[in-house]
């Protein structure tokens, strides 16, 4: 580990705060149950799930994954910039992260609109129930994440030095990375499984 990393986050540092991590880990467990339930039901109705999955736009799903990964990259850089007192870069990097996250949301809404226009809704069959519910719950998390990042970014631009603390910057970053992490697992399960 480079000297700069050692200065940044010493070993034993909890980014954000412990309460936020309890929530993050709990959320990850809830999603793990959704993932498991999906895979189990998929195995029981393989042909139905395969046929339905073919309707999804794999390329849009992949694009969304790339957008969210890039968004996380910007936010991670932003948190590190905050720690190194590169103050003018924090709101810029967070804004770039918010931009990519917003692009994800737009793509997702386009996907939903296309599916619904083609007659596929949450009640169409079991696969589409999972598709809409899982990506829908994820979408809500994404919106919450965007709101958190936006509040932090707006407060960072204050000139009176009363901006958000490092704990807030790290915490909102961690929540956002969780949103990214959940999509990283969701994408192959819904769009790519053979």
């Amino acid at each position: 580990m480079s000297a700069a990393n050692a200065v940044a986050a010493g070993p034993g540092h909890v980014p954000g705060e412990v309460g936020a991590w309890t929530f993050i880990l709990g959320d990850m467990c809830v999603f793990a149950v959704i993932f498991g339930s999906y895979v189990h039901d998929r195995a029981a109705s393989l042909e139905l799930f395969r046929a339905s999955q073919a309707v999804l736009d794999r390329d849009l799903g992949a694009l969304n994954t790339l957008l969210l990964l890039t968004s996380s990259w910007f936010v991670a850089l932003g948190v590190q910039a905050a720690r190194r007192r590169l103050d003018e870069w924090v709101p810029r990097l967070f804004a770039l992260g918010i931009g990519c996250g917003t692009a994800f949301a737009v793509v997702k809404l386009v996907e939903y609109r296309d599916k619904i226009a083609s007659g596929f809704t949450p009640t169409t069959n079991e696969f589409f129930m999972y598709y809409f519910v899982a990506t829908g719950i994820h979408f809500l998390h994404l919106l919450i994440g965007l709101a958190l990042l936006t509040v932090v970014t707006v407060r960072l631009r204050r000139r009176d030095g009363a901006g958000p603390s490092l704990v807030w910057i790290e915490g909102s970053g961690c929540y956002w990375h969780m949103v990214d992490l959940l999509w990283i697992v969701l994408f192959p399960l819904l769009y790519l499984l053979p």
């Binding site: 480079s2 700069a4 990393n5 986050a9 010493g10 070993p11 034993g12 540092h13 909890v14 980014p15 991590w21 880990l25 990850m28 467990c29 793990a32 993932f35 498991g36 895979v39 189990h40 998929r42 195995a43 029981a44 393989l46 794999r58 992949a62 994954t65 790339l66 990964l69 890039t70 996380s72 990259w73 936010v75 991670a76 850089l77 948190v79 590190q80 910039a81 190194r84 590169l86 870069w89 790290e170 970053g173 961690c174 990375h177 969780m178 990214d180 992490l181 990283i184 697992v185 994408f187 192959p188 399960l189 769009y191 790519l192 499984l193 053979p194």
Partner: protein, 94 residues
């Protein structure tokens, strides 16, 4: 540390690796026509493993769990391992 040095650091390398793994999975998931059963199972396991490895990279580097207290590191690794095992186990049961 300057912004340039930050941009050239580990975080960017991890991001590039995540992008590559995503493209590899996307390619793997695109080769679907006419795959024999064992090929499909192997592909499914590969996709799950790569996904959880990516998740672990995000946890470790972006969420900085790598430098977090042992309890948090263990909890996150437990989530990665259990989730992968459950997904592979339940998927193969079909």
């Amino acid at each position: 540390m300057t912004i340039g040095a930050l941009l050239r650091g580990t975080t960017t390398r991890v991001w590039l690796l995540l992008i590559l793994l995503t493209l590899a999975s996307w390619w793997l998931g695109s080769r679907r026509e006419g795959i024999p059963t064992e090929g499909a199972e192997r592909a499914a396991v590969s996709l799950v493993v790569v996904a959880l490895l990516k998740a672990r990279l995000v946890l470790g580097h972006f969420m900085e769990v790598r430098t977090a207290p042992l309890a948090l590191r263990l909890a996150c690794d437990a989530w990665v391992v259990v989730t992968a095992a459950v997904l592979i186990g339940l998927g193969a049961a079909g």
